[in-house]
Structure formats: structure tokens, C-alpha cells
Symmetry: C2
Subunit: 204 residues, 2 copies
């Protein structure tokens, strides 16, 4: 029997919600470049989304402006859903990032149209807000989204920096939102960047 055979609740709206729920389980199959801190394997999108959601709950005191943590956590858990259709693009892959915005827009059209319209718009709205990095909630969510793989890199001997031959300046550019929005956390990162260059994990 196929997935559809089980979704006959006589409520088409509920059927769509359950089907969407089943489909997004594919996030467990989208691998990122980041290693788990154990070093055992690469992290997947479901794990990453969960991890930054919990981090967000712990670091609000460092945000430069007040944030609505309930909204931020919701943003965190949906911010990578489009990768189910578009795949993950390594942050430091210049070539791969060409056309990423357009690819993800098409992916979002496809993915979110499966939900009831009001809910597709709601999740799409959170994703677009996250991506635009203009509101305090989105800036803060973007900060934890960048801090998490930084922490993983630091704790796995710079694994992804080394394998991607990443330069210090690229990392600094990527985390500039943290310099702006979480300056105290940025100071900790700065010291670790120095150390990473010294260790040969990042090119100078």
C-alpha cells in the first residue's frame, strides 16, 4: 500500500497536513557538510534544525535587540525545509551558490503548495523572513544558524573548513551577522578563528 492509502480521514485538509508531515521526514536524508561533534558522520538537516532551535533558547541574552523566542524557534525548525526539494548548498561553495535563491524559490513553490494555503503561506513567510535577515527574529535565527556549524568545526578539528579549503575571510563574511547582532559571542568566535588559522584549519 502507498502513503495515500492511509490518508483517508474524510477531511482533505487533515490528509494534506499528514502527507506533508510524512514528506518532510526526508530532511533526515539531506546531508550537510558539517560533521556531528562526535565526528562519526555528517549531520542532516533535521538534526541541524533541531540543534539550532535549542541553541536559540539558550542565547537570547546576547542578542542586540529583543527577540520573540517562540517565533525564532518556529523559524529555526522550518528554515531549511526547502532543501527537501533544492538540496543543501555548502555555504562556502561559490559556484554552487550561483542561482541558489532562484532554485530555492522554485522549491518553495513546489513544497509549500502541498499544504493548505494558509499554512503554506505561514511557513513560507517564516522562511522568507529568515532568509532576508532584516527583522531581529530573523537576524537572531541567522546567528544561531551560523554559530552552530562554527562550533561543530571548532570541535572536529576544523573538519569542514579543511575539506572545503575555506579561507578566514570567507568565514568572517559568513558570520558578520553575529558580529553585528551578538557581539559578545563574536568575540569568542574571533579568538577561535585566530586559533584555527594557527592550526592550519583555515587558510589565512
Amino acid at each position: 500500500m502507498g502513503i495515500q492509502d492511509y490518508l483517508e480521514s474524510k477531511n482533505e485538509r487533515l490528509d494534506r497536513q499528514l502527507l506533508f508531515t510524512a514528506e518532510i521526514d526526508r530532511m533526515t536524508d539531506i546531508l550537510r557538510q558539517t560533521m556531528l561533534i562526535s565526528g562519526k558522520r555528517r549531520e542532516n538537516d533535521a538534526e541541524h534544525s533541531w540543534h539550532i532551535a535549542v541553541m536559540a533558547m539558550l542565547l537570547t541574552e546576547y542578542a542586540a535587540e529583543p527577540v520573540d523566542i517562540g517565533r525564532v524557534v518556529r523559524m529555526c525548525v522550518v528554515h531549511d525545509l526547502v532543501e527537501i526539494e533544492a538540496g543543501d548548498t555548502f555555504a562556502y561553495d561559490t559556484q554552487g551558490n550561483i542561482g541558489k535563491a532562484e532554485r530555492e524559490r522554485i522549491a518553495a513553490d513546489k513544497l509549500f503548495s502541498r499544504l493548505p494555503e494558509d499554512q503554506g503561506s505561514m511557513i513560507r513567510g517564516l522562511w522568507e523572513e529568515f532568509d532576508a535577515m532584516e527583522t531581529p527574529d530573523a537576524k537572531y535565527a541567522a546567528c544561531v544558524d551560523r554559530l552552530q556549524p562554527f562550533l561543530h568545526n571548532v570541535l572536529t578539528d576544523g573538519h569542514t573548513w579543511r575539506s572545503g579549503k575555506v579561507a578566514r575571510a570567507s568565514v568572517e563574511k559568513r558570520i558578520s551577522v553575529i558580529r553585528e547582532f551578538m557581539p559578545e559571542v563574536y568575540r569568542w568566535m574571533e579568538a577561535n578563528i585566530e586559533q584555527a588559522v594557527e592550526n592550519g584549519w583555515l587558510s589565512p
Copy 2:
């Protein structure tokens, strides 16, 4: 170098928050009995916690009482953290569930004491509220926590029910909170239980 060597931000509070963040990455290593919907492998606690958080965002309309979705999502992402210390106990393992509450209380003491006190209390409070299933937010979070593996079972030919030789009455008991708090969703589940018994996935 060990994890501690990277956590010298000159702010002991931030150090503890980062160390806790690094430690909870072990949730990716705590396997549940539930299979991923793809059937490829067992699901881990990080994936499960993420999945129910997104589900919770989609199904509020079926809740018998209004819920604060921002709180529910936070509850979802932290509700299984104690399993880092206590391990996962299969819901239908009668023997294994003896002493579970006490094991988890000890695990919580150990785990949450690593955070700054206010944050340890905050997360512990959410976990205890979830576990008590008394408030609307906790009942709703408990519903999605039970609906998600049900959906996975239905879509993997009753994998975990079959391997655990689970009886229909045990499932009905486990999901009774859904009967109470999400009656329309329960009707869909009831029909699927009938089908599962007919398929031989659940014992009658």
C-alpha cells in the same frame, strides 16, 4: 585539544551554554525504536524532536483547547533531552518502563545542572510540564509526540509494532491523550488501527 580548550570566552556563563550546546549533539546518537518513513534506518532523538515541532505547527486547529504554539514548539525540542543521560525507553516495553521516571529524574539533575541555574530550571520546567500532561500546551505536545511514531508505523508496514509484538490495546492506551485532546485526528487513527489489526501488524 579537548572541548574545554575552545570554551574560553572569559564569560563563564557563555562557556557553560556553549558546552551544553555541544553536549546535546549526542541526541543524534540516541536511537528510537521508530523507523524513518523511508524505512532506511531507525530514527534518532534529534530527528524525532524536530519532526514533532514542525507537526505541532500544523495541527493546532484540532486541539480541544487553545495552545501557545511558541511554547509548545519549545517544549517539543527539549522534551527528550534527558534521554542523553537516561537513554530511550520503548513506549511498549513494560519491563523497561519500570523505574523510568526515577531514572529520568536523576538524568535531569545531572544534565540540567550543567546550564546556568535559571536556564536549567527553564528547560526542566518545560520537560516536567510535558511529562505531567496537565496543561493544554503539554497535552498538545504529548499528542504530536504520539501521533508522529503512529504515522511512521503506519507508513512502514507497522515495523515497530510488529517487531515489538504490540497489542492493539497498548496502542489505544498510549494514544488516549489524542482521543481526549484531538478527537478528529483520533478518528483517523482509529481507522488505521482497524487496518493494522487486519494486516496482522498489531495483535487484536
